[in-house]
């Protein structure tokens, strides 16, 4: 699906999510509001057509026009503008997920501490989930109270570097993301925001928003891969936002483990823990094993009287045990 601009995306979103737009009542943060003031521009009319509810609010920005819209050099990835409506996006945080595996029953997310989250698609009419081997992924948790997760499959190195950044692990050599952060600081800019704005054929697109230090009206945006964008956002400690249509269409949510899994897991665990720990009771199996061992050794060493004695003791023990059972 080739997009000439956000028009088609908004039309699709409107057809699917009229209730969400009406019930949207997120409050903007002061800083983000300040950052957005100087960046309303050529999409104002489109916004007014689609969202008549917010038409009065748009009048305040009629006199301001920004000219820093970035294009992606005609390769089909039109970058959204900074002035896109804030209600279209929702904040998210990064989970410490290591890999994601998808199958017929849904997704299984393996966390850093070894636990497995079993998830199903948020939208039951979602696209077909292909069977896949475990792949490194970055999982975002949508922070609107719905407990929706969005897995993004990435290469291995961005995933490893992201895990290191979350835990503040010191890497001896500067990574490319630290170099980018240092470069932005030294050139007099700062990172404001990272947005995951669309998906094109199983690949997500992300944007990085920068503003000049001291002059927030001068801003530039870049198209990035989500893996690079999220890595930079975590290091610069700026919010990560996801488009609502993506969270709705591609989001997954965690489900309770099935009862069969509980029973099997518990039974298996019980057996193993029972075998691993001495319980201070006389062990009948150990006694029987000792008798058999002594009997066989006596037979091998041709001490047949002793072997017969051990055999009698073994039979006595077994008959006694049969009485118990």
């Amino acid at each position: 699906m080739a997009m000439e601009g956000p028009i088609l995306c908004r039309a699709v979103m409107q057809a699917k999510l009229p209730v969400t737009m009406i019930s949207n009542s997120l409050t903007k943060s002061g800083q983000l509001g300040t950052a957005f003031l100087g960046c309303v521009c050529k999409y104002r009319n489109i916004t007014r057509l689609i969202s008549p509810i917010y038409q009065p609010a748009q009048k305040n920005f009629a006199t301001v026009c920004g000219s820093f819209s970035s294009s992606s050099d005609g390769n089909g990835y039109m970058a959204g503008n900074f002035s896109e409506s804030d209600e279209d996006y929702v904040n998210s945080t990064v989970l410490e997920a290591v890999e994601v595996r998808s199958g017929a029953e849904g997704y299984v997310i393996k966390m850093r501490d070894g636990k497995n989250l079993r998830c199903v698609h948020n939208n039951s009419q979602g696209r077909n989930i292909p069977e896949s081997a475990p792949q490194p992924a970055i999982v975002l948790r949508i922070e609107d109270g719905s407990e929706t997760l969005l897995p993004i499959i990435v290469l291995e190195m961005p995933s490893v570097l992201l895990m290191a950044a979350i835990r503040n692990v010191h890497i001896a050599r500067p990574t490319i993301y630290q170099v980018v952060k240092e470069m932005i600081d030294k050139m007099g800019y700062e990172v404001k925001l990272v947005r995951i704005n669309k998906r094109i054929q199983e690949a997500y697109c992300a944007e990085l928003f920068l503003t000049k230090v001291g002059d927030h009206t001068e801003s530039i945006t870049f198209d990035l891969r989500p893996s690079d964008a999220i890595n930079i956002a975590v290091r610069c400690k700026v919010p990560i936002q996801v488009h609502r249509s993506l969270a709705y269409s591609d989001g997954i949510r965690s489900v309770e483990p099935a009862r069969m899994a509980i029973a099997a897991g518990m039974s298996d665990g019980l057996l193993f823990t029972e075998l691993d720990r001495p319980d201070g009771q006389p062990c009948v199996e150990a006694q029987e094993f000792g008798l058999i061992r002594n009997m066989l050794i006596a037979a091998v060493e041709e001490r047949y009287k002793d072997a017969a004695t051990w055999r009698d003791k073994l039979m006595l023990l077994r008959s006694k045990r049969k009485n118990w059972a």
Partner: protein, 331 residues
């Protein structure tokens, strides 16, 4: 190859401390150098004309080397004891040599040197330029970026890197269009839109088998305002290639760690002989095969014996003896 004695000694002492860099020290060092450069900008204007002229033709640079030399010594930066001597932008150009990137895929260590596997499948056998530098490496293949020195010595400097930077560099070498912007494309675009330009990449030194490199940026319209960043050689070379700026290597590193391509040794004839034998075995040559005939006779004899057809077994045995006697006469 002449080694400049002036600025080499402080950097040579740096690896002895053995401490790896930390980000805080790098940041402090970079800030100090920015202040030092700004102060120098007001004091000596001629100095930065010399620095700007650094990007001229090699002959011009060579002609003025005598004049540039006394000025550059006073601005060499020391490593402040943190083990990572950061090369200064004002360091003499004679200390570095230009290089270009080769289309190498991986590097493997063999008993008498190294084997570089190129993209077209050929293998370059190399030995170390300086035999006294002993580097014990494992024999597993590694992804590597190989730089070729452009000073006529044809030395090769292999740098072992991770897989992703190597693949991205090979894609950039062939102008393969990756549909999504890589982090190196973003860095290039970011630099241009913020009003800076990449000027130079240098491989400055080697500490504990890890190479250090620096990326030099200059503000467009104000070439005296420069920024230098410390980063990995894999990232630096990727950015330099996309921005089409020169990649320079410290002469001491090129001399100590460089490789020379050697002519094929006589041991390669063994490989040829082996290949010849294999190709000969794999292809039928339309001659009567004595081994196959003998095998058939032995097989038929054993089958007859197992099936208790002893008359037939005796006949096959007689035929086998006659066949072997005939073959012995032939030999």
């Amino acid at each position: 190859m002449e080694i400049i004695n002036g600025p080499v000694l402080p950097r040579y002492a740096a690896p002895a401390t053995g401490a790896l860099t930390s980000d805080a020290k790098i940041s402090g060092q970079l800030l100090r150098r920015v202040h030092l450069r700004r102060r120098a900008c007001g004091l000596q204007g001629d100095h930065y004309r010399a620095a700007r002229r650094f990007f001229g033709f090699p002959s011009e640079r060579h002609a003025r080397s005598g004049w540039v030399w006394p000025v550059c010594c006073s601005y060499g930066s020391s490593s402040d004891g943190d083990g990572a001597a950061a090369a200064d932008y004002d360091a003499s150009g004679e200390e570095f040599v230009n290089s270009s990137v080769m289309e190498a895929v991986e590097l493997r260590s063999v008993s008498d040197g190294f084997v570089i596997k190129m993209r077209d499948g050929k293998n370059l056998r190399c030995v170390q330029n300086n035999p006294r530098v002993l580097r014990l490496r494992d024999s597993a293949p590694h992804h590597a970026i190989v730089l070729k020195m452009e000073d006529g010595s044809d030395l090769l400097l292999p740098i072992i890197v991770m897989e992703t930077p190597s693949i991205m560099l090979l894609a950039a070498l062939r102008n393969i269009r990756i549909p999504r912007p890589t982090i190196y494309n973003v860095v290039k675009e970011m630099t241009e839109r913020m009003g800076y330009a990449v000027r130079l990449v240098r491989i400055t030194e080697m500490v504990h088998d890890a190479y250090y490199s620096r990326l030099y940026l200059a503000k467009i319209g104000n070439e005296e305002e420069t920024i230098s960043l410390d980063l990995k050689p894999s990232d630096a070379i990727n950015i330099a290639f996309r921005c089409k700026v020169p990649i320079q290597v410290n002469r001491r590193i090129a001399y100590n760690n460089g490789l020379k391509v050697v002519q094929p040794t006589p041991s390669e004839s063994y490989v040829s002989s082996d290949q010849f034998q294999y190709t000969r075995l794999d292809r039928p040559d339309d001659q009567p095969c004595f081994e196959a005939q003998e095998f058939d006779l032995v097989r038929n004899m054993l089958v007859a014996a197992v099936e208790e057809r002893y008359k037939d077994a005796a006949q096959y045995r007689d035929q086998l003896f006659m066949f072997r006697a005939k073959k012995k006469n032939m030999i």
